[in-house]
Symmetry: C2
Subunit: 223 residues, 2 copies
């Protein structure tokens, strides 16, 4: 009686392991660099074993986007939503994004920052999914800004769409600098940039981590 | 007498045409997606004709970075440097970046935004060149902010490194949204974001283009 259930559960676990590996690999090789062959190698499986779960490269890419969305939701969005709505959620969202990078859950940084650039010029269902994710994430930031303004935690004349654009940009820049320089200093600086932009720092002085990053930047031109 | 000179000039022109095409192709296929074969196809040349100019894929990639640097310098940095040092240069630099995207000089948006994400995780001379470009560009923005602060065009407590990070982020976000949605509205919004951040807008009202972008975003969730 238990054999068919165990088999189905095994199949699901295998499929989960494949898409999880696909998300990781895509942050190094790109979404278009994924193949049944390199996934089979990475997982020490047969090609036919991987192929059984995905009918085509497009199916594999779409399943990879789904899994990347789940990871982003669990690591970035959900921790933020457990904070108080408004400014606290906004800060928590940015911090959770930087934490996600720092933990190196994925070896090549933010999956979505990478695929936006890689697949942005290639029309089709994969790009549509990526555009929907990007729009949804920007809308989430904007909604948090709106709540913070309504609650009087940000100035009345703050423009939610403008600030959402800026915060999204800080995340893009933080990811690029972190990945490129293999150094957590840009993440410390990014946390400081966010706090200063949101008026959360109570004094004009920079945190020690950001001062360190700054002196590195001055001596090594690393920024 | 003139034949050898013409031959050498022809060879230089051919090499220039190849690297120019390589920069364009890389914004669609990625720097790692470049090959002697797809360049030969794109230029309607023989593979051996292309191969004669580049001994290896790495040489081709490094030559492509050089050419991309020249294009960026001519389209973004030089126009900005012709403005008054300080705030005017800072604004001109951001606008020149958005103009560069809008002109579609390269089919896939900013070459450098793309290769940072693609090659950031692959150690070697190509990544080193990209990191040097990124550091140099951030340092240039920072220096313009410092001049603007010295000239009293930005508040005394403005932190040049922090603001340079933000402006760099706005450029990353503008490029990503422009490429992904094939729509110039994010560039109008980005110009407004920069002006607001630099305190250049004299009233709190948004320019018509940004208002348009905003109402689009509100109805289509496109931002």
């Amino acid at each position: 009686m238990s054999t068919p259930r165990r088999t189905r559960a095994d199949g699901e676990r295998t499929r989960e392991a494949i898409v999880r590996e696909a998300v990781c690999l895509a942050t190094i090789e790109g979404l278009d660099g994924l193949s049944i062959g390199n996934l089979a190698d990475a997982l020490d499986m047969s090609k036919s074993g991987v192929y059984a779960h995905f009918g085509s490269k497009r199916d594999l890419q779409l399943a990879t986007l789904d899994e990347a969305g789940r990871i982003f939701s669990a690591e970035v969005v959900e921790p933020a939503l457990s904070a108080e709505p408004g400014l606290a959620q906004l800060l928590a969202l940015c911090d959770a994004f930087f934490d996600h990078l720092l933990r190196r859950t994925l070896p090549g940084g933010c999956f979505w920052c990478g695929v936006v650039m890689e697949m942005g010029t290639r029309p089709g269902p994969v790009r549509e999914e990526i555009a929907a994710f990007q729009s949804g994430f920007t809308a989430l930031i904007q909604q948090m800004v709106e709540t913070a303004v309504e609650r009087g935690q940000l100035p009345d004349d703050e423009e939610p769409e403008t600030l959402a654009f800026e915060l999204n940009g800080i995340m893009f820049a933080a990811n690029a600098k972190f990945v490129l320089h293999e150094d957590p200093a840009p993440l410390d600086l990014a946390r400081h940039v966010v706090r200063r932009r949101l008026g959360v720092t109570t004094s004009a002085s920079r945190p020690a981590t950001a001062r360190r990053a700054r002196s590195r930047a001055q001596t090594t031109n690393h920024a």
